[in-house]
C-alpha cells in the first residue's frame, strides 16, 4: 500500500515535471557582458559578449551584436546569429555607449530590474566611445573582455579608489530622492580599455565626466576607505626649508613649483551635517589617516613642524579639490554626493520632490573641513 502510493507519487512527479524547460549549461550562450549603443534612426544596437561551450572551438568567448528598436529586439536579433540560447543570468558588466548614456539609460535598465534572473551585482559602466568598440576589442587570447572589465573595476572598488557602481547601487542612488548616481567610465587608453574616471548622471543621463581622483573623493564622501592609494600634487613653495640639498642644483629646484606625493589612505571617512536648513548650508568633515609612500622631491619630514605643515597643505589641497568637484556638479545640476538626501533626512516632514531639489542644488553651500593625520612617513623621514 505504502509502496504503491510512493510509486504513484514518483510517477506523478516525473510526468508533471518533465515539461520544465532545462537550462543545461552546454546549450546556453551565457552573456557575461552586454553593451548598448544608440545608432541612427533612434535604433538600438546591442553587443553581447557571451560564453558558450562549443567543443569544436578553442575560444569559449564570442561577441555577437544585433540591432533593433528596443534592447529586447536587438537581443533577439543578436540571438538569431548564434546557435545557442542566450541567457541573461550571468551578466557581469553592462556597458552603455556615450550616446546612449547621454540620452538616458533607464529604458535599458527597466527590463533588467523586472527580470528576477538578473544579478543585482552586475556592474554598470559607461563608455566614452561606443560600447561596441570596447566590447569588440581584441585582448590577448583567452581573456574575455567582460570579465576583464569586471575585474578591472572590482580591484579599484575593493581598494576604495572608486565608488562601486553595481546595478543595485545605481538603482538605489539614482532612485533616492536627492541623490544621483555615478558610474564607472571606461575608454580605450593607450590601446587598452581602461578606467578613465566616473560618469556623473543626472537621473539617468550622463552629464559630467570626472577624473579617477575625483572619483576617489566621491568615494571618500560616500563610503569609508581603507588602504587606498592616493596621489596629491602640492605647491613646493612652503617646503623650501625642508628640501634636501643633495644632488640637485639650485636652478633645477627652482624650476619646479609643485611636487607630487604618493600616499596610502589607511583609513578615511566623512560626516556631513546640515548647518542651516533654510540657507542650504552644509558642513562636511572629512577624516583621513595617511601614510607617505613616495615623494617626488627630496623633502625631509624630519620633525613635527614639517609634518604639521605637510598635513595642512594636504588639507588645503583636498578641500580645494572637493570644492571644485562640488562646483562642477552644481554646474550640471547633478548631486552624486546626495546632499539632497541629507537635506531631506533633516527636514521636518522629510518630504521633497526631485524637482525641488534640482532647483535648490546649485545654490547649496558646503563647508568642507578636511582633517588629515599623517601617521607614518614610511621607512625614511
Amino acid at each position: 500500500m505504502k509502496n504503491k502510493s510512493l510509486a504513484i507519487i514518483i510517477v506523478c512527479i516525473l510526468v508533471l515535471t518533465s515539461c520544465i524547460p532545462t537550462n543545461n549549461i552546454e546549450e546556453l550562450a551565457i552573456i557575461t557582458a552586454r553593451g548598448v549603443d544608440r545608432i541612427e534612426d533612434n535604433r538600438v544596437e546591442t553587443v553581447l559578449n557571451v560564453a558558450r561551450f562549443d567543443p569544436q572551438t578553442q575560444n569559449i568567448f564570442a561577441t555577437v551584436s544585433g540591432t533593433g528598436n528596443t534592447v529586447k529586439g536587438a537581443r533577439e536579433d543578436a540571438g538569431n546569429r548564434l546557435n545557442y540560447e542566450l541567457k541573461e543570468g550571468q551578466i557581469d558588466v553592462e556597458l552603455y555607449g556615450n550616446e546612449a548614456a547621454k540620452q538616458g539609460i533607464f529604458p535599458y535598465i527597466g527590463g533588467l530590474i523586472r527580470d528576477a534572473r538578473v544579478s543585482d551585482t552586475m556592474k554598470l559602466v559607461i563608455s566614452n566611445t561606443t560600447a561596441k568598440e570596447i566590447l569588440e576589442f581584441e585582448l590577448e587570447q583567452g581573456i574575455a573582455i567582460g570579465e576583464y572589465l569586471a575585474d578591472l573595476i572590482e580591484i579599484e572598488v575593493d581598494e576604495g579608489a572608486l565608488p562601486s557602481s553595481t546595478l543595485q547601487d545605481f538603482t538605489r542612488r539614482g532612485a533616492t530622492i536627492g541623490q544621483d548616481a555615478a558610474l564607472t567610465l571606461i575608454d580605450i587608453k593607450e590601446d587598452k580599455p581602461s578606467i578613465v574616471g566616473m560618469a556623473v548622471l543626472q537621473d539617468d543621463r550622463y552629464v559630467l565626466e570626472i577624473s579617477t581622483h575625483e572619483g576617489f573623493l566621491l568615494n571618500l564622501f560616500l563610503n569609508q576607505i581603507r588602504n587606498t592609494p592616493i596621489e596629491l600634487t602640492l605647491p613646493l613653495e612652503p617646503f623650501q626649508e625642508y628640501i634636501e640639498k643633495i644632488g640637485t642644483t639650485e636652478r633645477e629646484r627652482d624650476e619646479r613649483e609643485t611636487f607630487s606625493i604618493q600616499l596610502t589612505g589607511e583609513h578615511g571617512n566623512s560626516k556631513t551635517k546640515v548647518k542651516n536648513l533654510e540657507e542650504l548650508k552644509f558642513q562636511t568633515d572629512i577624516y583621513l589617516d595617511l601614510e607617505i609612500a613616495e615623494i617626488s622631491q627630496p623633502i625631509s619630514i624630519k620633525d613635527k613642524k614639517a609634518s604639521d605643515l605637510l598635513e595642512k597643505e594636504m588639507e588645503k589641497k583636498i578641500q580645494q579639490q572637493f570644492e571644485e568637484l562640488l562646483k562642477k556638479t552644481q554646474e550640471v545640476n547633478a548631486d552624486p554626493f546626495g546632499f539632497g538626501k541629507i537635506y531631506r533626512a533633516n527636514k521636518e516632514d522629510g518630504r521633497i520632490t526631485p524637482e525641488e531639489w534640482r532647483e535648490k542644488y546649485p545654490n547649496i553651500n558646503v563647508e568642507f573641513n578636511v582633517n588629515v593625520k599623517l601617521m607614518h612617513t614610511g621607512t625614511v623621514q
Binding site: 514518483i10 520544465i20 543545461n24 549549461i25 560564453a51 569559449i60 543570468g89 550571468q90 557581469d92 569586471a150
Partner: protein, 500 residues
Amino acid sequence: MNRRKKTGKGNIFPLQIEDLESLLKSKFKNNPDLSFTTYERKNEKVAVFYIDYQVEADKVEDFLLEPLLGEKIEWTNDSILNEIPLSSGKTYEKLDDILKNLLIGAVFIYCESEKSVVSYLLSKKENRSLQQSETESLVLGPKIGFTESMTTNLNIIRWSVRSEDLVLEKYIIGKREPREVRLIYLKSIANETDINTMRQRLQELDVDVVDDSAVLMQYIEDSTTTIFPQFFTTELPDRFSYNINRGKLGVLVENSPTAIIAPSTFFSFFESTEDLYMRWNVGTFLRVLRYLSFFLSTLLTPLYVAAVTFHYEIIPTPLLINLGQSRAAVPFPPILEALFLELMIELLRESGARLPTKVGQTIGIVGGVVVGTAAVEAGVTSNVLIIFVALSALASFTAPNYLMGTTVRILRFPMIILGGLLGIVGIFFGASLLIIHLLRLTSLGRPYLSPIYPLVVEDFNKVLYRLPNQFQNQRFKSYRPKDLQRYANKDAKEKKDIDE
C-alpha cells in the same frame, strides 16, 4: 501406542532396544550418521546412540563408555547418572526431545526396560577463532569481534560488562529450526518499557527460521517500508558493551556474529566508540565530519545536477566557465551523466565487496583510475562530476555502520533525479520529505530523530558533539534510563588567579 510414537509427544518408553533402533533409524532414514550401538552384559542390554560428528568422540570414549562398560556400574538410569563423571546428565522421555538433542550433539544411553533415556551433552562445535571484525574497524580500541558461537559471544560480553546487573534473557525463536536468542541489558539502567516492548516482540515472533540477526532485526523493526535501519548492528563487543552500559538493549542471535542494539536513533549510526577513545575535541571533530559527510554524500551530486541543469545563475562566472568547459563535450544531460557515474561507483563497490580481497583491490584501481580517466577522455562524463561523485562516495563510507552507509548511498539516487527534474526546488522537496520521513520513524517506539526532536538539549553533547568528561556525567536523557546519573558531577573548579 503407535499414534503416540508418531506424534512423539508422549512417553515412548519402556521399549525394546530393537524397536528403539528401528524407530530412530526410520526417523533418520537418509542419514547414515546415526551411530547406534548395543552392549550386552548378562541379560541386560544397553544402547548408546548419537550423531557421529556432533559429539566429541574422545569424551564419549573416556568419560562415558569406559565407566559404562566397567564392572562397577549397574545398568540402571540412577546408577548411570550417579556414577558417570559428567555433570550434564539429563533424562528424556519424549521422542521429540530426543531428536532435538541428538541434533545438537547429545549422547543417549538407554538401558532396556527403563522408563526414560539418559543423555549427556557432549556436543562438538567447530568455531572460528576470535578475529578482528572485517566490516567495522577501529583504529583505537579493542580489536576483537563477535563470532558465530553464542557461548563465545556471551563469554566476551560477560568479560566486558562485569556486572551482576547484566541480564541475559533467553528466547528460542523459530518453529522449524529453533535458535537461541538472547536479550541483554542492565537491569538497573535499561528502561522498563523498552525491555517489555522488546520482550513482547521477541515472544510474539512467529517465523519458521531466523537466518541471522540482521533478519531478526527486520522482523522486529517498527517500520518495514523505510529505507533506514532502525536498529543499530555491530560486530564489536566494545561498541556493544558501550551501548549496554548506557541503558540500551542488546540482542544476540545464535550463529550470527552481529549483535542488534535497540533502541537506536538516526544519530547513533554516526557514533563510533572511537570518539570516546579520542580526546573530546578530536572526537567532536570526527563526529562533525561524519555528519558533514552525510550531507555531502546525499546533496553534492544532486546540487551539481540541479545547478548545471537549471540554475547556471548561482555559479560564479569563473567557476561556471570551468564547469561549462568540462561539460561541453558530454552528449548526455547532466542527470543521466550523474546517474551513470553513480551507478559505476556502486558497481565498483559491489564487485569489490564480492571479490576476494586481493582481486578486489585491483578492481578498485582499474575501475577508479582507468575507467574514470577513459570515461572523461571519451567525452562520456565531465571530470568535475567525477570529482564530485568520488567525493560523495568517499563520504558515504565514513558512516561507522555499514547499513547506514548503504542507505546514504542509495538516498542519492532519488535526490539526483529530483535535482535533475526540478532543480533546487526538487532538492529541497527531497530534503523536506526525508526530514518528515525521519520524524515519522520510531525505533522500539522511541522517536528516531531524538535528541533533535523531541528536543533534549542535554543529550546534544553525547550525540552531535562531545564535551570533556565533567559534562558527561549523565546518560542519554532521551532514552529515559532508570538511572540517569553516571557519576557525581565534579564540583566546579575553584577560581584561581594566575600564579596562585
